[in-house]
Amino acid sequence: MNLQLPGFGEWVAAFFTLCIFSFLYRDNVLYRVAESIFAGISFGYYVGLAKLNTLDPNLFRPLFGDFAAHWTLLIPFTLGLMLYLRYIPKLAWISNWSLAVYIGYYIGVNLLQKLHGDILPQARGTMVSLSGDWGSVIGSGIVFVGVVVVLIYFFFSSPHRGPLKPASRLGIYYLMISFGASFGYTVMGRISLLIGRLTFLVHEWARPLVMAVLGG
């Protein structure tokens, strides 16, 4: 039987895991240190990620490797650098030009996504199909009613009086059932994260350690 102590990486991972878990007992220095290390590594990771995965292959290598063919990349390069002028108070107004292009582009893309990719297909999917068995027709009808009353509930431009009141109430009931389902799934999701950590601690750190110390 191969009795191997956990590797150095596993020890580091187990140490950090236990530091964070220690917060469950109470706030302490080890937790704060681990939290600070996490924050520092996250920011450093973004720098390496951007450079290795986007800036090198999509900007620097084509631009400086074959300038004649890729000189237009100077435009996004300049716009990108302009974003950082916001930290120089006298020149901060220039960064607004770059920010305007960036935000404007994503606003336009988002509009198409919402109209073409969300509203129209979802509205189409809500139409009751009268072909098919009674079960699916009734189910489609329940969905149709639900979508309408939920949208009535979210319509805050006029007070929910008269026929809007019971419709809005029914909308809340649909939402509560959905939120209950979401809660159930959320519980499953959170437990999954705990399973991941405990599985690591037991199978990749504690078990090899105990087996190696006790000699199998």
Binding site: N53, P57, G117, Y185, M188, L193, V202
Partner: protein, 283 residues
């Protein structure tokens, strides 16, 4: 009812301890509960099963290490299914905080497990910034977005990418997603480019995707660890020679069962104590 009040105000660390013990025991001693299959997962499996050897799918690792326990098993099962059927996989990521590392880990581990060849059976294009911008650009020219793979090999030099210029040349896009990225694959890529999309998502986001699936915008969904365990079961049923490979999601469902029971008990017991104390106050 003094004791009911005291029970309601019990130190939360006792609750933490009960959850900890409840989760630990099935990890040390697995129970082996059976997995039942649901239609959304079966729909994804059937679609992949219906593809032919040589077809190419896109697998986007849009999640980070925090979502690993739920989405890694999905990645493993889908990769096993594809490699077993001879379906080629192009891996990529649009999730900044760890997506590329999750992709590297899954693709390398599974290629060793099933002897799949990088460049011929799978390729890893790595991560790209831009989110929707990258998704849109890939609709015309993947090489313009990913000029090289994660190791710096030019896109055109990867054998399996010859003939794969855009979404039109692929049969399916699978996004293993946390947050809103899975929705973008549906309401942008599927809506504007027509490629069928399947989403493997964390349990927290799963309820939302039912609306997309019912509107036929997604062919199916794998929701959380439950969805992952179902896909593991389906792959093993269809390919018994893959029995014995790790089934982390199925093992995790044992823990889910025990902890769910504990939490249901907490909810019901807490409400019972609350009703008792309320009755005492009203009396």
């Amino acid at each position: 009812m003094n004791w009911a009040n005291r029970l309601l105000l019990v130190d939360r660390r006792i609750i933490f301890l009960m959850v900890f013990v409840g989760a630990l025991i099935p990890i040390i001693r697995p129970i082996g509960l059976a997995v039942q299959i649901s239609p959304p997962v079966e729909a994804v499996f059937d679609y992949v099963e219906g593809l032919r050897p040589g077809d190419t799918i896109l697998l986007s690792f849009d999640y980070g290490p925090a979502d690993g326990p739920e989405l890694d098993p999905m990645a493993n099962s889908i990769l096993r299914h594809c490699y077993r059927k001879g379906i080629k996989v192009i891996g990529m990521s649009l999730f900044p905080l760890g997506g590329v590392e999750m992709g590297i880990a899954r693709l390398n581990e599974l290629s060793t497990e099933l002897n799949a060849q990088g460049g011929t059976d799978w390729a890893n294009l790595g991560y790209k910034d831009g989110g929707q911008a990258a998704m849109k650009a890939m609709g015309e020219d993947i090489a313009a977005v990913f000029p090289t793979d994660v190791n710096g090999v030019a896109y055109g030099a990867i054998p399996m990418t010859r003939g794969i210029r855009s979404y039109r040349d692929m049969k399916l896009a699978v996004s293993l997603a946390t947050s809103v990225l899975g929705e973008w694959w549906i309401n942008l890529v599927n809506a504007q480019f027509g490629i069928p999309v399947a989403v493997g998502t964390t349990a927290v986001s799963a309820p939302r995707y039912y609306a997309y699936m019912e509107a036929k915008q997604a062919i199916g969904i794998l929701g959380g660890m439950k969805g992952a365990s179902e896909y593991e079961e389906l792959v093993e049923r269809a390919y018994p020679d893959l029995k014995g490979l790790s089934r982390t999601a199925t093992m995790g469902m044992d823990v889910q069962s025990i902890v769910h029971i504990i939490i249901i008990f907490f909810i019901l017991f807490g409400n019972a104590m609350f009703l008792l104390t309320r009755r005492t106050r009203e009396a």
